[in-house]
Amino acid sequence: MALFEAKNVTKQYGNQLALDNVSISVPEQCIYGLLGPNGAGKTTLIRIINQITGPDTGELFLNGKKLMPSDVQFIGYLPEERGLYKKMKVGEQALYFAQLKGLSKAEAMKRLKYWFTKLDIIDWWGKKVEELSKGMAQKVQFVTTVLHEPKLLIFDEPFTGFDPLNTKIVKNEILFLRERGATIIFSTHNMESVEELCDNITLIDKAKTILEGSVNEIRSKWAANEYDLVFDGDVKIEGNGHYNILKQQTENNKSIIRLKTTSNINTNDILQTLMISGNIISFNPALPSMNEIFIRVIEARN
């Protein structure tokens, strides 16, 4: 069942259409990628989900029920532009945000201690926010986002500003939160992390949904009959009527070849012809990266 659904959402600012009839459906315990170029309308959609602003038309559902103002306690939101009160102490501030989301002081304190210890920022409890490094402040904000154990988490570019080590830590925390039952909407331009983390995506461009579905399905669909072939030893092959060679190279005594079949020919038939040329180590469909798909889709529209 879908934990969150937006149906036919339209939002207009003055003469500018920010969202045009956009629908998304986020399955429970899924990591859902919200992709799109800058200014496509992602942030508007996220703000609508957070009820920061309302849609002109369209409906929103959480757990099958219409989204209510009181539902904010079930949603955690990490905005792209991070913000904390600079003059406030880290601990005080985290406590304040937790209480805003409806946690009791004692409960908030207990959970904060747990998370601060887990992310190794407990020493910063009494420091002022302005003394923190950017990564530190991000960790604090990450904690305040997830502290009230929301069913739906929304991360807007969660990894910017983190070093690779901290990126890994936060990534693992996101996966851990999903294990524990959270559903995550994840907006990013970092396509590698989309491939790594997301189950489903929606691609929005110029206020409209362009692409939607599971990451694997989308990648297979865009695979377009390309295959990666690896031979043992230095092997050269020529294209024929059934396939073309896109590129081939030899590395560490292995020949890596990418070919594209010209028609819907059975892969077994191709393999039979190829086996003659040498010892095949692997044969895989060449999935385009999300990066490539993103660029191709957006460029095709312009």
Binding site: G14, I52, P79, E81, Y85, F97
Partner: protein, 429 residues
Amino acid sequence: MTILAPVLMAAIIIVPTLIMMNQSGDLKKIAVIEDNSDLFKGVVKNTKDAEFVYLENTKVEDLKKTFEKAGYYGILYISPELVNTPNAVYIISKKQPPIGLLQHIEGSLKKEIERQKLLAYKIDNLDDIMKNIETNVTIQTKKLDESGVEKGTSTGIAMALAYILGFLMYMLVFIFGAQVMRGVIEEKTSRVVEVIISSVKPIQLMMGKIIGIALVGLTQFMIWIFLTVGIVTVLKTTILPKSGITEISQSMPQNLMSGNQQVTGTTQTAQMSPQLAEFSQMFDNAMNQPWGLIIICFIFYFITGYLLYASVFAAIGSAVDNETETQQFMLPVTIPIILALMVAMGTMQNPESSLSFWCSMIPLTSPIVMMARIPFGVPGWQIVISMLLMVVTFGAFVWMAAKVYRTGILMYGKKTSWKEMWKWLRYSG
């Protein structure tokens, strides 16, 4: 700074008193020389900070060189020509003589010359006549209220009240309003706002900010007042000697009781010393101000006026990216406040002017101008209309400000204009 403020304020009150005390402690000996006459001998009497020594057979020229060594502060030279020539008198000293000393000398000499001129008319019993005509005049004003009861009032007190109330209002609205604006800008630029309005509604955040700052400001104000009063009282009892204050405070309870009975009050005051009478009169008049009305109106106008302006300030804060951009929006907001303050000052000269009347009706200026008018007496219907207009307008302003705020707070990197803000008003939730 927060702790220092009451100390500074107490210092402002105490230090001048201390300085005055120090000055009076320094006795000035002044040599008085006349040219071959004793016309003015003993005329200038000693005061508590000056002693006048009348020297005979001394030349100014001789004393000029030695007066300091002889322990004199200065030399007062009086020529016999003084009766006809007003400037035939001078004082020689190393320092500029204090104005009080000069006034004392001038007053004494003037009186003596007048007396001598009168003497020339050869009037019988002149001294008795002189004593008899010596008077002091203070006008007492009586205001007739609706029931026809005479009440002692004081234009001075009404003016002081009008001034204090008007100015207090101006300060509170302006300081707190600007603080609201800075708070909103801070939240916007540090991007905290997006996190918070995913938890609460924008209007809740805006109103929370406005009310919170008012409470913080009022608390700080209260602490300052209490601390200042505390420090001043402690210093007064320890540093300053007991003076006339005790006499006055002793006579006060009696006057307090008679405050409601004017007729007996005046007969009583007649028996008191003139100064005391004046003071108790003032006290009676102060008690006659409609304090209940003043307090109620002050609270009402403060709350509504503050909400009105603070919501405008909040809207401006939300529409800009940093404080420097606020300039173009500040001017139109500042003008009504400054105008109100100026009209309020004018109100003290002429409370019945039509300018004062209209400004006490228009909601943008009424909090300040009406407060300045009330001590002079305002018909009830005018207050009611002014208050109704105020409530309607403040409601409309808060509503509009909330709409602008909601859109503006999430809008970055766009130069905002009034036109743009007008457009935001019509965006749906």
